[in-house]
Symmetry: D2
Subunit: 396 residues, 4 copies
């Protein structure tokens, strides 16, 4: 196995040298005083990335899915009602998790490629006058479709009817790549993982609980132990953990936050926007379109590209892997075979992106699609090279 080419899957991303080294730490005693110097800066760094001053951050040895389970099992009881939107594979999975936990999920489904239907959320919440709905779920960025939803609008839908439900947001493929304002948006639980915007290996579920979410814990009757935030909270107070912590991963998270904050969060977001826009310029030049149905839904971390009818998009992904040794994302769930995905989040440069676009073009021509070699690359090049001022300012 060779690892020469960058990956273009929507996470895990290319891991920067610095973070691989921070994660690959020799064994230290996690009960020693030194662990505090790793844990607390990591927690503080995550708070800054989430733009929250009041939430409590918890780090579990798990993936983002473990973060979802942390959110619901610590705050809800069997039979509780939650409102969720279904607009892609990952929102679907979270709904499935809720149902398996005995929750009563009101599903606001929209076609894949659409965002959270905030108008319907508003109607449903307004109609829920006896406040049966305890939690509203929102998938900020649907990784399967490359759709970013408007969390501020979800908050507005809640506020419009003064609904007391908590707002839980899956920010797995947005946080660290696109703006996320936990406090301003009134998010009660934010969930992400280490392998996306934080540019790390897989293995840390990162969750943040607002004071309101923390207050919901005591009455929550869903069984939990591994993901119980009370034990984690008690552990942190004495610089420890309820079980053995992943010291290296937490060390890498500390460094990842430092890298993001040193670059400046707005600069990080601008960089993702620039790289994503270049990819979209290429897609336009290929005369193709995104799964996301309108521009305000375009994700800056992943683009899901619709291929022509009759063409199996998965062949492109396997062709790229076999012939060129380069990994794109395939279509998942309902859009399997209909889209291929270019992940453009985390540790990526304009230069690397161009190699992904050039490879996509070769694959498309190899497989008989009517695309002109170099056309998408040229469109992206023109955008990247013209965007110098922004680029320069970002780096300054």
């Amino acid at each position: 196995m060779s690892f020469q080419n960058p990956v273009f899957i929507p996470g895990p991303t290319n891991v920067p040298e610095e973070l691989r080294r921070a994660a690959d730490m020799p064994t230290m005693d996690h009960r020693s005083a030194h662990f505090a110097d790793i844990l607390h800066p990591a927690l503080a760094g995550v708070k800054q990335v989430l733009k929250t001053e009041t939430a409590e951050v918890f780090l579990f040895p798990a993936t983002g899915s473990g973060g979802w389970e942390t959110a619901i099992s610590n705050t809800l009881s069997a039979g509780d009602k939650v409102l969720a939107s279904l607009n892609g594979l990952f929102s679907q999975k979270w709904i499935d998790m809720c149902q398996r936990h005995g929750l009563d999920v009101e599903v606001a489904a929209v076609p894949w490629g659409h965002g959270i239907p905030t108008d319907r959320y508003a109607e449903i919440l307004a109609a829920d006058t006896d406040h049966q709905i305890k939690v509203v779920l929102a998938t900020h960025n649907e990784t399967a479709t490359g759709v970013v939803s408007d969390i501020a609008a979800v908050r507005a839908a809640l506020d419009a009817s003064n609904h007391p439900a908590m707002l839980f947001v899956d920010g797995v493929s947005s946080i660290g790549s696109m703006d996320f304002q936990m406090d301003k948006w009134g998010v009660d639980v934010a969930v992400t993982g280490s392998q996306k915007g934080f540019m790390m290996p897989v293995g840390l579920a990162i969750v943040a609980f607002s004071a309101k979410a923390m207050a919901a814990i005591e009455s929550a009757a869903l069984p939990r132990w591994y993901f119980d935030v009370r034990d984690m909270q008690a552990g942190y107070k004495i610089n420890g953990y309820p079980y053995t912590p992943q010291v290296g991963m937490i060390n890498a998270l500390k460094m990842s936050c430092n890298m993001l904050l040193d670059e400046g969060l707005e600069n990080v977001f601008a960089r993702h926007a620039r790289i994503a826009e270049g990819v979209r310029k290429a897609i336009s030049a290929w005369d193709m379109s995104l799964c996301a149905v309108s521009p305000e839904l375009y994700s800056n971390s992943v683009s899901a590209i619709l291929t022509p009818q009759g063409f199996d998009a998965n062949t492109l992904v396997s062709h790229a892997s076999e012939k060129y040794g380069l990994a794109f994302g395939g279509g998942l769930g309902e859009v399997a075979g209909k889209v291929f995905r270019i992940g453009h989040l985390g540790s990526l440069t304009d230069v690397m992106t161009l190699s992904g676009l050039a490879t996509a073009e070769m694959c498309m021509v190899d497989l008989g699609l009517d695309v002109k070699l170099g056309s998408g690359v040229a469109a992206a090049q023109e955008f990247y090279r013209s965007d110098f001022a922004l680029n320069h300012k970002a780096a300054a």
Copy 2:
């Protein structure tokens, strides 16, 4: 922070160079065909280490505690009865987890330092004629007290009354260091983690389910999603995962199994026995005794050493850390302050062990204990150097 000295905590262990590198893998597409070449050998390797031909192995991004939760949440329903022994902090935690999941735990408590009371298990099981007890829990090696229990005897206790309860074993600090015979002992769920006998970083919960345990899944009503083995099983069939797998960690597990099997499991166990016996020779020379009350309970992965009354054992641990930069394990739970622990599992040599013993001696003298410098070291040296034949045979 410097990492010059080996650690003597009972896990995470010193991680061999080869495994650090295997874990620190560049990003690859976990949905590509290459992942199968990592996943399946790792699963097969674990089966060999567990000495099982029939169980199914599952790897979760979690710690051993997540493995406990996998065991119970996939096989039991609220209100189900389980039989457990309490003889240390880790057996206590598993009981607590069961209770928080609404299980009815019959606790067979013994003083810390004792092993599982298999006679009492036999009596309780014999008395349970209507087979209310669904599962018997057994902590193979109590890391807090350095006590190894007799799992074959637990199996015999079940068989004596033909009791159909399943047998779940926590082998976190035994598997890979001491003999574990899943099939022969009739273990239904075995649980361990990556950071002990497998010599890896923390972050993988490793669980194996017998056919009987697999059969119990469908009727088990405890809510679960993250730790649901059905999704994991379905994923493995198509070389995938229900969520993003930790490719590097699984790659390291594959290599760890290869290392253990190349050395030969019996040689690995003999090496642990030899190193542990040297540590025990030193303890005798110091005129001190183990928390484990009788020789058949002595663990080969960790020794918990009782310090004289009036002496706070934790001061020794902090003194070793501060003055000599060396990590021992402190006492936990009921034995906090009464014992300090020398972890001697995983990647360790006679040579390294002697540095730990020498440091323990310096600490004891520094802190006023009546111990002769060099006395324990000499006892261990004599044992290690005489044990050449065994040593030699093991390496051959």
Copy 3:
């Protein structure tokens, strides 16, 4: 400093993960028996890469320049005459080294961009009837101009007049990337370094001496100690070194040879030829030309591209570095400011190469050159994607 983009300098190349790890070896006793298991396979591997069965290989802690000095100081005496061609910076440096060692260098200069003038060599050798010329120097691949010379023709020039002079070849930027046939071409000393075709970090001078060169050692009067091959030869016989060897680097060389031989030397050369031809297709599409004046001189490891008159090629190199974070090679010596160089040797893929070409295009447009974005990329893409059969066969 970030290391996300590949480098396109003509060495050091991008270092494969495997070789970085092989080089980064923990300290071992270089006087222990284990060193033999590293040293001898490395020496044997180099012989295979050089296609020699009879030469002796020596590895010095040095660069390729140290290899040049090894060649001359072990075989010549002050006042000895050597014949050399000057067609670029590196041939010039070797001549300078000879002169500083008191050798009498007959220089056959040609304009930079030309190859070794083998006709003139033939004439000079034929005229040297009393065999004053002891050594003929030949730079196989002029890294400064991207010109590969015909070593077989140099041999033919020697043979035509039955001239007994030895043939010393600088293969620093050819060996491991382009065919090199030490025995067939009658090369007496071959010189290279670790950081080019061997894809390793800088720091090993790799030299091979034919039996004829070995025989010349005793009468050679130039002073030497560090680079004395007799001490090295004596050391190797007892698995040692005259001074402390770089165990990690030699370990990486062993692995590098294995990688090259596993891929198959002819496949390695075909890969370099394919990648280089794609670069040349791009250059043609840009309507630019190479410094190398004719196709048989085109190097497969580096392309030196002439920029239009009045354009300072070095601005392109610094622009690429500053704006895009990508390293090309600048012009050196006589061609400084007139060419920029794209290194395409060692660990490189079609995909990576396209990112280099796309970046070169952006730089050229940014700096006002009349080049169409995507034009060179498209030409290279067409070549790379069509070359599937070859590509496929190479990998098979």
Copy 4:
């Protein structure tokens, strides 16, 4: 191959994690502006370690032997006279190098185990009234015998007769471990390597030239190119090198200097003195003696221990390697078979040292020597643990 035990050879030392990582740097363009940020701090750091304000530092891809050759070939001409002391293998090698370069070496030999005979130096220099002697060579620390010589006394010997000869010092196994005062001692060329006090891998020759040595360059007629400091000096002025620099190694040197200076040079020296003194306490407890004939000659970086007559010391070294997997240094040259060496320089702790001493004891008993297990360890323990105040102050 496993790398669990520390090494006790007198270099290469155990390499700290931080320095391995600094050396294992991904490829960067060594002609880019970033290289200046690595090179110049490394040069400045070396000056501080050497305690010189006026010397110029040069870093060659080579070993310390290359540094010796740099010293003589840049400053002398064939036939020039140098004065050297022969008291071990390494001083002998330097003399051999001089002779092979046609220098006229006046050798002041003493039995191995003795230091430089500064009285004889003084007599010879006083007698050299026409100043034929151009250079005085001095091996600060004879690695073969564990003897440190008094360089200030050599300087005094020169000053006593106002002799203008330059003073060249081999500080390979002293610099960075024991005090070295280049300016105060009037050293004209100081030579060392990366793999001893700097705790790095092998591969960098580190040399410093005083103004007087620099002035000698122009008239020096020995041929040189690779080790010509003029090219190096010219390169540094434009942030470059005469050939490809080892960027990673220079990066590690920069970090190594930072580590030494952060700890504080006097603290580093005190740490070496403490660890060495503990080793010597053990040797006394074993009733053995050092090759170094008197206490003021005892080296703090390596101890060469005389074994009883009739005992082949090399068997101890091979026994330790084969049975215990631990590397000691063997006897070299005249003292081969008579001594074994414990290297105690670079990255080493009291704790690690005790494991080396314990292993030496086991070997000695295994091989029939009359040594009591634990005796040397106890003597070292008593010293290390009592030395808390010093230890503590050093770390503060």
